[in-house]
Assembly symmetry: C2
Homo-oligomer: 212 residues x 2
Amino acid sequence: MTINTDVQTALEWRYAVKQFDASKTIDASDWNTLENALHLSPSSFGIQPWQFIVVQDKTLRTQLRAASWNQSQVEDASHFVVLTAKKTMDVQYIDAYLNRIVEVRGVDPSSLDGYRNMILGKASQPSQAIESWTQRQVYIAMGMLLATAAMLKIDTCPLEGLSSADYDRLLNLTDTDYTTVAAVALGYRDIADKYSLAKKVRFDKESIIHYR
Amino acid sequence: MTINTDVQTALEWRYAVKQFDASKTIDASDWNTLENALHLSPSSFGIQPWQFIVVQDKTLRTQLRAASWNQSQVEDASHFVVLTAKKTMDVQYIDAYLNRIVEVRGVDPSSLDGYRNMILGKASQPSQAIESWTQRQVYIAMGMLLATAAMLKIDTCPLEGLSSADYDRLLNLTDTDYTTVAAVALGYRDIADKYSLAKKVRFDKESIIHYR
């Protein structure tokens, strides 16, 4: 079971990097796979209520760092992805998605009527519930990205400690239907990062995973 | 870049299984790795605001299926995990977590004072915001689990279409601080599942991933 051992090792190897080696860059082939982890991520109804912004501009990274409790990962990581969630779920968007299904799978549009009604039912919830729902979906993509990176021996740091309003302003999202929910820095750990040696802190497995 | 190719293939291979082969079982070694994907999943502050319930009792699976729009995956999958989120974030829980850090890393408790204040600051948000926040963390674990399973060539189906209240009642969670947010069925696709051959529907990568 080599693959199992490799996967297990990758899960243990992953940690939230505090200090990236700013001299190291993720190569194009690996980056393409990481993009696909986001692009192919599952979501409720497959509706993909998200956009991902890869920020490589140095000036913008400096500004985003200031909006992230000055965490150095924002500037030092090879790649920096801002994860945004769709704020609303309107019928136009739902129909664009259904049209995409028709386009990709060549199915009859009317065969999707039942599915359309299910999604419209979900979309009829109060706006606060919709926003929580789309944000949760984005976190599936975050988890997919973090796990995929670990398999590729690429380091990550998920960042939730950021000013969503400042990010939205800096990324020109304020007047759009997308809002920043989190970010992920990706690259390679600095050998000086003492946290790479720190033991993982988890509650006992038996207190977290139960059997029925 | 063999590992890259393997990872890429796994991401494309994954889909939300509609029909599991009820005769196939995930072996203990693979299951242990999947448990670790949950147990080792990152979360905000590392606070692990979740519990995972693996339901193997057949009668209970039948009852949960009825609370999940009668989706067959609930009964037919090899393993079925209910993902629950902590409803509140109280000082007792935060201190239990900090004590765990002290226990695992052997650090001086006072060295965590600043960290404690940061977590307490987060925990002082309105209860609705806390609940959305803990639920989002659970979705990181979901993403980690789905990606890890794909790497092991184990099929999955995430389920959000379920009655959280019914699940909580059936799992005796109603009077606890945890509530059901989603579930994941894991096992092996049935060869008759026509969705295994369906093309993945995604918006154009260029409309989802942007560069700045």
